[in-house]
Symmetry: C2
Subunit: 338 residues, 2 copies
Amino acid sequence: MLSERRLKVLRAIVQDYVGTEEPVGSKALTERHHLGVSPATVRNDMAVLEEEGFIAQPHTSAGRIPTDKGYRLFVDRLAGVKPLSGAERRAIQNFLDGAVDLDDVVARTVRLLAQLTRQVAVVQYPSLTRSTVRHVELLPLAPARVMLVLITDTGRVEQRMVDCPAPVGEVALADLRARLNSRVVGRRFTDVPQLVQDLPDSFEQDDRGTVSTVLAVLLETLVEETEERLMIGGTANLTRFGHDFPLTIRPVLEALEEQVVLLKLLGEATDSGMTVRIGHENAHEGLNSTSVVAVGYGSGDEAVAKLGVVGPTRMDYPGTMGAVRAVARYVGQILAES
Amino acid sequence: MLSERRLKVLRAIVQDYVGTEEPVGSKALTERHHLGVSPATVRNDMAVLEEEGFIAQPHTSAGRIPTDKGYRLFVDRLAGVKPLSGAERRAIQNFLDGAVDLDDVVARTVRLLAQLTRQVAVVQYPSLTRSTVRHVELLPLAPARVMLVLITDTGRVEQRMVDCPAPVGEVALADLRARLNSRVVGRRFTDVPQLVQDLPDSFEQDDRGTVSTVLAVLLETLVEETEERLMIGGTANLTRFGHDFPLTIRPVLEALEEQVVLLKLLGEATDSGMTVRIGHENAHEGLNSTSVVAVGYGSGDEAVAKLGVVGPTRMDYPGTMGAVRAVARYVGQILAES
DNA sequence: GCCTGGCACTCAAAGGTCACGAGTGCCAAA
DNA sequence: TTTGGCACTCGTGACCTTTGAGTGCCAGGC
């Protein structure tokens, strides 16, 4: 096990490196952090830390930089989560309170997160899987054409066109709408299939085809929309990435455009609590030099979706984690209110 | 006026520079394009072109590169619009045909455009201003709470919560819904305010407050949503920008995140036909070294929104314009079908 | 046994010099 | 008006040197 002081040294290295973006040497360390020992001692400690794989030197006769493993230890044991200042808190609240609808909430959250952390922000739309049905509406558009509108408790609206096998009467449609709603309103999306299973049976022979078709589309919508959407922002912050620019930034931008990749990324985060994935811990190759800080958020106790930031492994973890957590909380509140 | 040959020289310079990304000299020009004259002659022509401001040299003893003014002349008089190959056409069609809803159409269009042009693609959602109302739905959620759902002919759905001054009866609500729809369905959004103006008068005294409130929210939605949304993609292509990287790319990324800026950008494009804005012709400073190629698209004769690409001034204008035009056409078709 | 000052060593970064050559402008002749 | 010739410019890349931050190791001290 590493001694207390060596951990201190590691922490100091991480902090300095994050601040200066330059390899940090033994002398600078003793000057900036009152470790109470001489540079020579620190050098010995650094040798050990390097041996253990927590730090590395880019080349001989340069200072040390933390490895992914070093950051991992730092995050797990050495860093707290830095709480935001009161002013920042108020700013968040003010900014989010102005949102008019779900899209706006998500958009504002992305901006906010990008600004606070000065990194790339990713926000997943509240998931339908855990949402409940607020209302299902059926609108006759043409004799055999119906528009299905699904409204969730998070304020999301999905619509689908349904082409029916036969013309539908207004009455039958109203009937279906009423019965459908009485069964599914307030229920979870995942429970819906069971709840509507026997619905066609209670209709006249003539209308069963239509009812089945409508239900099929409804269920399909539920499944399809479980593949969730997300919004990203703050990509301009990637330009602060480093010196070896184009090569680093390119794969990251590419990864960010792949919704699938991002969804998987957020999905990997554990359901509760904050998840930090550092460098090579990320499955996607393009993100090997980035870290992802993600956390679930939701209107109640349960997380309905996730949000987070993507930044260089050399990031201010305590600050970033603090910002991510705070934003997630406030968004949860906003969602609960609406 | 510039002689025929000088125009040819300018065209050759633009083409070569776009291809190689390096200043082009007189010798290389005569070798690659059979101009039928010697390098010395070309040099004289280049001197004239430079005097007129169409080309410039980065430093003495380097080749010439086109100026914004040079590109402008090239686009206006020297370049055609390169039609796409049959294979590309089919690819577009196939790719867009798979779209399931409006969001998907826009998302696919962005990807497609980014891939075809290898640049940043920007697609505006079909505008509500020119759209017509397909249906307005009112859903009672609580005694004094109604959800307003607005469906457009482009398949877009907007919803708003309405808090009424007094509890609303189901009957009154159904009545309002019916009358509202009979007045506005099929009409343009811009005409709606007039059409519903006197609607509250025809209701019982008790319900007038509610009716007014609902209408107010409806009109507000129309106005608000006229500020349109858009989707961008292909930002990874920015990495192919040039050598002087970070400085160039940063302001572009920043501009791209500002929806307002982008909307203005597209808005500046003339309504019909393709618009090309080159370098400093763009009002926004961050885009001074980029060109924007934009065109309107729509389901019918009229453009309902715009789409385009943002790339370096040094871009393949004929090819880009061809791709943009073709994509706009196909998207229009898709929208018309649905 | 751990810490410390001293010292020789390493090596990337920065600066300086130099030769090369692509490209130019100009001129006189065709 | 075009062309070949020629002197000139100047950015680029190769090569070298210097500088200094940082290291590893060792011998002496607490």
